[in-house]
């Protein structure tokens, strides 16, 4: 496993134009030694899944502020599965109401972070998520 580096995709689905949070997280992940593919604003679920496949990432991190998480996230998860990317972990940051959290986790979202979460906590969660998926093989 020499030279193996965590590869992660950071994307912003939906139509809102705020990517400050996503950029801060991207930088924190880079500073933790990860290779971060940053795709920027207004990504459709199709674009996210395609990029995740081509880049062969371990984790997909999505920043959602628009409130459209209950339509966007199931679609991303479905596409990832259709492509055969069963190991890839999906992390979500943004404003997600408490009542949606259990359903999202059930669908396969690994972790959800509210606005202003300490970046070190997020970095740690990324590392742990990949650790468990690697252990599973």
């Amino acid at each position: 496993m020499t030279g193996r580096k965590l590869r992660v995709l950071i994307a912003k689905p939906g139509l809102d134009g705020h990517d400050r949070g996503a950029k801060i997280v991207a930088r924190a992940l880079r500073d933790a030694g990860m290779e971060v593919i940053y795709t920027g604003l207004r990504q459709t679920p199709e674009m996210i899944a395609e990029a995740a496949l081509q880049e062969d990432v371990d984790v997909v991190g999505l920043s959602i502020l628009s409130g459209a998480h209950m339509t966007l996230l199931p679609r991303v998860l479905e596409l990832l599965r259709q492509q055969g990317q069963h190991d890839v972990q999906v992390m979500v940051g943004g404003i997600i109401p408490d009542e949606d959290v259990p359903r999202l986790k059930e669908m396969g979202v690994t972790a959800i972070f509210g606005p202003g979460t300490n970046t070190q906590i997020i970095v740690q969660a990324f590392i742990e998520a990949v650790g468990t998926s690697l252990a599973r093989g």
Binding site: T2, K5, G33, V36, I37, G40, Q54
Partner: protein
């Protein structure tokens, strides 16, 4: 099905995984690459390099869009295109932010396009090798054109330029690029020069400057009289780098650039230089592998600590590096 068979059958996930294995120099990936090797050698490898922020990714986006919309030479179908976009790793953390895809969103959803980002990982020569391996895999699965975007700053770019058949050097006005380009010796590796952001004032100056510099470099480059050079050019034996203006954000000049890239390929084929470059590239790849292999073999044969001992003596200036190696080799007998 073996990994190689899956990749050749067009399984894009398998291809993506293979690219990771090659990048990490994992044995399974390198073995698979050997299986694929007979299928390589068809793609046109095009390097796109230049200073940070000159618009390389925006240009690649437009270029690929254009290539995907027109027939490929005599073929009725457009060429299929892969992009390998290299960005620097952070020297502090070893991590990287790879942001070239931001500018390539127009290419999403096209099954004839495959984009892969990679970090330079700071290894001398290693970048070129990993990139070359990844490019070979993309070549084997049948992409007609492979664009390799790298930031033009140092040795890595020169290495990548050797990997590519055609090297496009991108600069932009009023950034002091012209000076930087010459300092890095990057003009010497350029087959095509692009002044992007031609919508910005000062573009004319940059164009003029680059054309004049090329003009000056011409006699030195070839060391021949003008009439002979003109004749060679007319015969298609010699390639004269051209300077093109583009506005990547609007798509201006993209068609000319695409045609110039195709013209360079035709030149390489017609002049026999394609085969010459190919031969040189493969020779240096084999020599490098041989060197690494012999070094590793030698090291495992050395009794523990013998190399370190010699190293200490060289550091203490009791031996020269040449003497140290000579004595180590002698002990081999």
């Amino acid at each position: 099905m073996s990994l190689a068979a899956k990749v050749m059958a067009g399984d894009r996930l398998a291809l993506a995984r293979l690219l990771t294995q090659i990048e990490n120099e994992e044995l399974v990936g390198l073995d698979c690459l050997s299986d694929l090797y007979p299928h390589t050698g068809r793609a046109h490898l095009v390097g796109v390099t230049g200073a940070p922020g000159t618009g390389k990714s925006t240009l690649v986006n437009r270029l690929v869009l254009h290539m995907r919309s027109v027939a490929d030479g005599k073929e009725a179908e457009p060429a299929t295109v892969a992009v390998v976009a290299v960005d620097p790793s952070s020297p502090f953390s070893g991590g990287a932010i790879l942001g070239d895809r931001i500018r390539m969103r127009d290419l999403a959803g096209d099954p004839g396009v495959f984009i892969r980002s990679m970090a330079s990982r700071g290894a001398l020569g290693g970048l070129a090798r990993a990139t070359a391996g990844m490019v070979q895999a993309l070549d084997a699965v049948g992409f007609d054109i492979i664009l390799i975007e790298t930031v033009g700053a140092g040795q890595a770019e020169v290495d990548i330029a050797r990997t590519a058949h055609t090297t496009v050097v991108v600069s932009a006005p009023s950034m002091g690029d012209e000076i930087q380009a010459i300092k890095a010796g990057i003009l010497e590796i350029a087959d095509i020069l692009v002044v992007n952001k031609a919508d910005i004032p000062g573009a004319d100056n940059t164009l003029r400057f680059l054309r004049a510099t090329l003009q000056m470099a011409r006699p030195m480059r070839y060391g021949r009289g003008d009439h002979i050079r003109d004749q060679m050019e007319a015969d298609g034996v010699m390639w004269e780098p051209s300077v093109l203006a583009t506005v990547a954000t609007q798509g201006d000049g993209i068609e000319s650039l695409s045609q110039e890239i195709a013209r360079h390929r035709a030149h390489l084929r017609a002049s026999g230089e394609w085969a010459v470059r190919e031969g040189e590239r493969i020779r240096s790849e084999m020599e490098l592998l041989l060197r690494e292999h012999l070094t590793a073999q030698f090291m495992t044969r050395q009794p523990d600590g013998r190399f370190e001992e010699a190293l200490e003596r060289v550091i203490a200036r009791k031996l020269s590096p040449r003497q140290a190696i000579a004595s180590l080799l002698e002990g081999e007998g």
